[in-house]
Symmetry: C2
Subunit: 247 residues, 2 copies
DNA sequence: TTTAGTTAGCGTATTTTTTACGTTAACTTT
DNA sequence: AAAGTTAACGTAAAAAATACGCTAACTAAA
C-alpha cells in the first residue's frame, strides 16, 4: 500500500488483470478498497491490484512488484495489453479522495498501463499465496468497481480471447502440466463456447508443441488422463514456419 | 514544437508510427531533429513524430494533435499499441539535453504511449500535407534514431503484421478505394512475403465486405482494374459469426 | 493501324483442414 | 461385481487452401 510521502510518480500507474481458472469458472483477482463515502460512512468496493509507479521504476517491474505486494503472487508472467489515459478516468469524487489519501499527493489525472495474466487457481502455491484482502471473483459477475476498472477487465478479456484464437494459449500463461480436457475447459471458459472434445484432442495431438508426460492423473473416479506440457522451443519453431494469413 | 514553459506533463509523451505505402515500398514517417552534440557542433538525426502531453490532455487526442502539428497530417486513425516505460529509454546525453531544451523542463524519465497508423502515401491530400521537416523513410532502411524509437517502430510493425494476419486490414486503415492488386501488394509489403494473385483475389471476392465500385482505373497501360471499398458494417456482421479458433 | 507489353480477371484439380459423430478403455465408488 | 464417469481413438464428409495457365482490356511504340 502507498504511504504518504513515498517517492512515487503520481501521474502513472500500473494495473494487473489476473485471470484465474479453477474447475469450471474463469475468475479475476480483485482487492478490497475501503473509503469514506459522501455521508461519512466507511464503504467498500473492489479494485484491480495496481499502484503508482515509483520514480524511475520500470513499468513491467512496477506491475510485478504491485501484484506481489497486494496479493502475494510472484513470478507471474504479465503481459501489457493497453494503456488508459482519458482525463476523466479517475473522476469520481470518492476515487480522487482515496487516491489523495493513499498516495499522499494531490492527484490530477493518472495514466495507467494495464497488464494481464492467466494462472491456475488450484495450483496450491498460487492459492496459498493470495493475501486475504484479495479475492477471486467470477468474470461474469464482476461487481461495481473503482475507477474504470470494469472497462480494463473487459478489455483484458478481449485481448486474452484474441490471443487464444490466434495462437495456442501456451507461451507464458499455461501451468506446467495440464490434461487435454483441462485445456479444453480453459478454452471454453475463455472463449465462452463449447468445443468438440474429439476434435480438440486431435488438434492438440497434431500440434507438436504439446508434449505428453509419463505422469497420469491420480485418485480420479474415472480413467486417468495423461498430463501434457507446453514446449516453448518446439512452438517457436512451429510459429516461424506457419505464418499464413487468415481473414 | 514545445515552447519552454508550456503547460505540459513532462512525464508522459505520445509517439506516432505512421506507416505509408506507395507503389512497392512500406515507409515510415520521421521528422528531423537538430541538436548540439558533445563537440559543440549542430547534428541531425530522426525521430518519430511525438510530443509531451499537456496537463489533463487525453492521450488519443494528444497523439492526433502532435501528428498534425509536426507533419500536417490530420484526421488519421491512430491505434494505440504499447506503452514504453523503461527508465533508461531517454538516457543518451544528447537526448536528455534536447528534451530539456525543447520542453523547458528538467526531464528525468519519460513514459511514452505509442500509436500506429497506415496511410496511402500517394493520396494527394496526404502527400500534400506533409511538412518539409517530415520525410518518408523505407521501413527496411531506418537510420539511427533518437531515444528508443527504432524499437518502437519495429514493435509497431509487429503489431500491424499481427493485425493483418488475423483480420482484414480493413477497419480504419484502408484508403477509401483500392484495387485488389494494390491491396495484395500492401499485404506483401507488410507481411514481407509473396502471395498468389489468383488465390488472393478469390479470398477477397469471397469476403463479402470488400465491395466492388463502378469506378475503374484510368490511364494505366494495361487492362484497368476495378476499385473496391471496405464495408465496415458487413465486416462487423461477418466478424461476429466467424469466431473460430486456430492454432 | 498494327504489334508488343502489361496487368486484370477467371477456373479447375489436388491437397489439407475442419467438422460431425460413436465406441471401447480404465479408473473409483457403491 | 456393477454402476458411473471421463479418457482415448477413428472415419467419412464438407470446406478451405493451394497450385497452376489462359484470355481480356488497356496503352505505348513501331
Amino acid at each position: 500500500m502507498n504511504l504518504p510521502g513515498r517517492n512515487i510518480n503520481p501521474h502513472i500507474s500500473v494495473d494487473c488483470v489476473i485471470f484465474g481458472f479453477s474447475t469450471n469458472q474463469l475468475k479475476v483477482l480483485l482487492i478490497k478498497r475501503a473509503y469514506t463515502n459522501s455521508s461519512g460512512r466507511l464503504s467498500n468496493d473492489h479494485k484491480l491490484p495496481g499502484d503508482f509507479i515509483a520514480i524511475n521504476e520500470d513499468l513491467d517491474l512496477a506491475a510485478s512488484r504491485t501484484l506481489k505486494e497486494l496479493t502475494g503472487l510472484k513470478d507471474i508472467y504479465l503481459q501489457q495489453f493497453a494503456f488508459f489515459g482519458m482525463p476523466d478516468r479517475i473522476s469520481k469524487s470518492m476515487d480522487i479522495a482515496w487516491l489523495n489519501e493513499t498516495s499522499g499527493h494531490k492527484i490530477q489525472r493518472v495514466v495507467t498501463a494495464a497488464y494481464y495474466s492467466l494462472i491456475n487457481i488450484t495450483d496450491t502455491n498460487s492459492d496459498f499465496a493470495i493475501k486475504n484482502n484479495a479475492t477471486w471473483i467470477d468474470v461474469k459477475q464482476v461487481p461495481d468497481l473503482a475507477f474504470d476498472h470494469a472497462t480494463i477487465i473487459s478489455n483484458g478479456l478481449a485481448h486474452l480471447q484474441l490471443t487464444l484464437r490466434n495462437e495456442p494459449i501456451g507461451f507464458e500463461l499455461l501451468p506446467e502440466k495440464i490434461t487435454i480436457r483441462e485445456l479444453q475447459t480453459l478454452y471454453e471458459m475463455i472463449l465462452d463456447c463449447t468445443l468438440d472434445n474429439r476434435n480438440f484432442r486431435k488438434k492438440i495431438l497434431k500440434s507438436t508443441y504439446m508434449v505428453q508426460l509419463e505422469e497420469k492423473q491420480r485418485g480420479v473416479a474415472h480413467k486417468p488422463a495423461y498430463y501434457y506440457r507446453f514446449d516453448r522451443n518446439i512452438y517457436e519453431k512451429y510459429k516461424k514456419e506457419s505464418l499464413g494469413f487468415n481473414f
